[in-house]
């Protein structure tokens, strides 16, 4: 479930094992061989469907999950609908975990989606009961596979390839069901599994266990349900035992989730545990009230036109009802569950120098990978902000306040220069390295429009790192000259500190603003402001030297350090333009063309002299 990765790593061995076992039994037990082959085909078909929907939806599925999950009822409904349509709770879970990791979705919403997805997954039971057994679906299988194979010949777009995969997947699933059904029918002539039916609660517990183990082994509750339904349809298992097997399949699917979450981050673990708790509670309720639920199913069945002896449809109804009851009973406690899960798994992100958002689950989709990189770069900037403010001997809380600039620079952070290299090693290097590594992995499967954004983000990261390195050079003389007895040089270095404080404040305003026109003005203002460091052009240096106000050594230091301050400004402005302008904003296309150019800045300054 929540991790497709573990499913993927064992999917191929399981399928191969099933096919080999099918071959092994081919002569001695041809019907067992047919059933195993059917299961293998069903799994392959599911895989095709999932890959197809991923390519076909191409961002639409992510948009739906992002937009319609802000409240718990909405999240449950979205989870239900999306799973019922794409027929893959694994795909929905993977997207949910990656959104959770990228903070595009809260834990309550994610839990809602998973609950809804549990109801949505029962759609497979309905499909198998309705179409798989009522009609001869193997007749439709081949035409669907043929359509799927020929579709990509007409268009090479991802969407068409996705649709073709969905067709091929459905066709293979139909074939699989048909083989399973055929296998169970012929098996009945030899062995009657129904003779092993156990009555009472002993049978219920026994079959719950069998259902759970089967799902853990096959790694797909949908496949287990397909087996149960076909076995029930051919009379190989008795109705009550089939219900118990269905409960077992629901419990078994959480083991896959837990196994997968072992390697996931805190969010993946929280979601897997939430899913586990939900399915266990639902399973316990279903087992405790299995006979009452059976009566409820019989009662409801007559109202929706299900025959009294149509056990496969009644099983599908039972599967849906006990999942709905589970959601109704557990949903009111989601906020309590969230608190419990947050206490159970404490975010490792508390460690400042470690990446917070670069989870491998985000690599599954280009959009989530990009969001993860944006979030991590923002995290890198937050750490850089702390280092730069300390480097120019300022207190972060003062910069972020409305305090007057003169008061901010008077309230110094320390009396001694900090070791910026040490801070860089602890707060920057690890995150920066991880971002570059993650970016390299992400770009492998990214379309061209994402690659362009990725390139800009790489540059933004480089700008942040270089701004820190420039601060390191600047720091030495800031500490030396802000305590100098020469008031002129002291004034110049405090002016640099004021300028950088103003810049950091402007960037914070850009970061917090969601108004395009405001961002545009702020960027232009910051660019004009950075020209204050051009002390050669504005005549400051000439005046100080000519009037003998500073020594030659002070003059060269001031010239170099003004250059460092200018570079810090330019790099941070460039970074802000990439990082803090929303990717979907109208400004994104025109930001570079509309912001003030160097030539316009010079003419603006000339006009105001």
């Amino acid at each position: 479930m929540p991790t497709l990765n573990i499913y993927k790593t064992i999917f191929i061995p399981i399928t191969i094992l099933l096919l080999f076992t099918a071959l092994f039994f081919l002569n001695s037990y041809p019907n067992v061989s047919t059933i195993l082959g059917g299961i293998a085909l069903f799994l392959i078909g599911m895989e095709y469907m999932e890959v197809g929907f991923k390519a076909f939806s191409s961002g639409a599925l992510e948009s739906v999950l992002k937009k319609f999950t802000n409240t718990t009822p909405k999240a449950i409904f979205t989870g239900f609908l999306s799973t019922a349509i794409v027929q893959s709770s694994s795909l929905i879970s993977v997207i949910t975990v990656s959104f959770l990791s990228a903070e595009l979705m809260g834990l309550s919403s994610a839990i809602g989606v998973i609950f809804g997805s549990n109801i949505g997954t029962t759609a497979t039971s309905w499909l198998v009961s309705l179409f798989g057994l009522q009609i001869k679906i193997s007749h439709y299988a081949m035409p669907m596979i043929v359509v799927g194979i020929f579709l990509p010949l007409f268009s090479k777009s991802n969407s068409w390839r996705g649709i073709s995969s969905v067709f091929i997947g459905l066709g293979i699933i139909f074939l699989g069901i048909s083989y399973m059904k055929e296998g169970f029918e012929t098996l009945k002539n030899g062995i009657d599994l129904a003779q092993y039916a156990i009555a009472g609660y002993a049978g219920v517990f026994m079959y719950v266990l069998v259902g759970a183990i089967a799902t853990v082994v096959i790694q797909s509750s949908s496949a287990t349900m397909a087996i149960i339904i076909t076995a029930l349809a051919t009379g190989q298992i008795d109705y009550t035992n089939a219900l118990a097997l269905a409960i077992g399949a629901n419990v078994g699917t959480t083991v896959t989730a837990i196994l997968g979450a072992l390697k996931a981050n805190e969010n993946g673990k929280r979601l897997a545990v939430a899913h586990f708790i939900f399915n266990i509670i639902t399973g316990l309720i279903a087992v405790a009230f299995i006979y009452q639920l059976t009566e409820l199913v019989d009662y409801l069945a007559q109202y929706i036109g299900i025959g009294i002896d149509d056990y496969t449809m009644k099983l599908a109804l039972f599967h849906t009802i006990f999942n709905i009851i589970g959601v109704l009973l557990v949903s009111p406690f989601i906020s309590l569950l969230v608190k419990f899960l947050n206490t159970l798994f404490i975010a490792k992100g508390m460690n400042k120098g470690k990446p917070k958002y670069l989870d491998s689950s985000a690599l599954v989709l280009p959009s989530t990978a990009l969001v993860a990189i944006v979030m991590e770069t923002k995290h890198l900037y937050t750490n850089a902000f702390d280092i730069i403010s300390r480097g120019i001997n300022l207190k972060k809380k003062n910069i972020l306040s409305n305090m007057d600039l003169d008061a901010v620079i008077d309230d110094q952070y320390t009396y001694k220069a900090i070791d910026i290299d040490d801070f860089y090693q602890h707060w920057i290097k690890g995150i920066y390295g991880e971002i570059i590594d993650f970016t390299t992995k992400a770009q492998v499967s990214m379309p061209s429009e994402y690659i362009e954004e990725l390139y800009k983000l790489k540059l933004a990261n480089r700008d942040i790192v270089e701004a820190i390195k420039d601060t390191k050079h600047l720091q030495k003389n800031i500490f030396k000259y802000t305590i100098s007895k020469n008031k002129y040089i002291k004034e110049q270095y405090n002016d640099i500190r004021k300028g950088l404080t103003q810049l950091l404040r402007t960037i914070e305003s850009i970061k917090d603003s969601n108004q395009d026109e405001e961002i545009l003005v702020l960027i232009s203002k910051a660019k004009i402001e950075s020209k204050r460091y051009d002390i050669i052009s504005n005549g400051t240096l000439d005046r100080l030297i000519r009037q003998g106000l500073i020594s030659n050594q002070m003059a060269t230091s001031l010239m170099n350090d003004s250059d460092y301050a200018y570079n810090i400004s330019q790099k941070l402005i460039n970074m802000a333009q990439v990082l803090f302008i929303d990717i979907n904003s109208d400004l994104r296309d025109f930001n570079e063309e509309l912001t003030i150019t160097d030539e316009e800045i010079n003419s603006h300054i000339k006009d105001h002299l």
Binding site: D516, E517, V521, S524, K525, D589, E593, H604
Partner: protein, 83 residues
């Protein structure tokens, strides 16, 4: 009819040519409206109530806005000539 020709026909019938430019034009128009609205708001601020420093900052912002509106209109004109 070849597939390429078919796609071309569909694009022509559904007026999908220059779709990207049209999207850009729309974005720019929205942005220009926002910039002009901001300029109008700034103009309404009573100058007398401000300090010299604040008046200077306001004037600078107005100048930046005028410059950006001018540049935006120029780009819009270029886009309109393409479409």
């Amino acid at each position: 009819m070849s597939i390429k020709k078919f796609i071309k026909q569909v694009k022509r019938i559904l007026l999908l040519n220059n779709f990207e430019q049209k999207g850009k034009k729309k974005s720019l128009k929205i942005l220009l409206e926002k910039l002009e609205a901001r300029k109008r708001v700034l103009r309404k601020i009573p100058r007398k109530a401000l300090t010299i420093k604040e008046r200077k900052a306001l004037k600078e912002e107005e100048e930046i806005l005028s410059l950006q509106i001018k540049k935006g209109k120029k780009i819009l004109k270029e886009l309109q000539s393409i479409i």
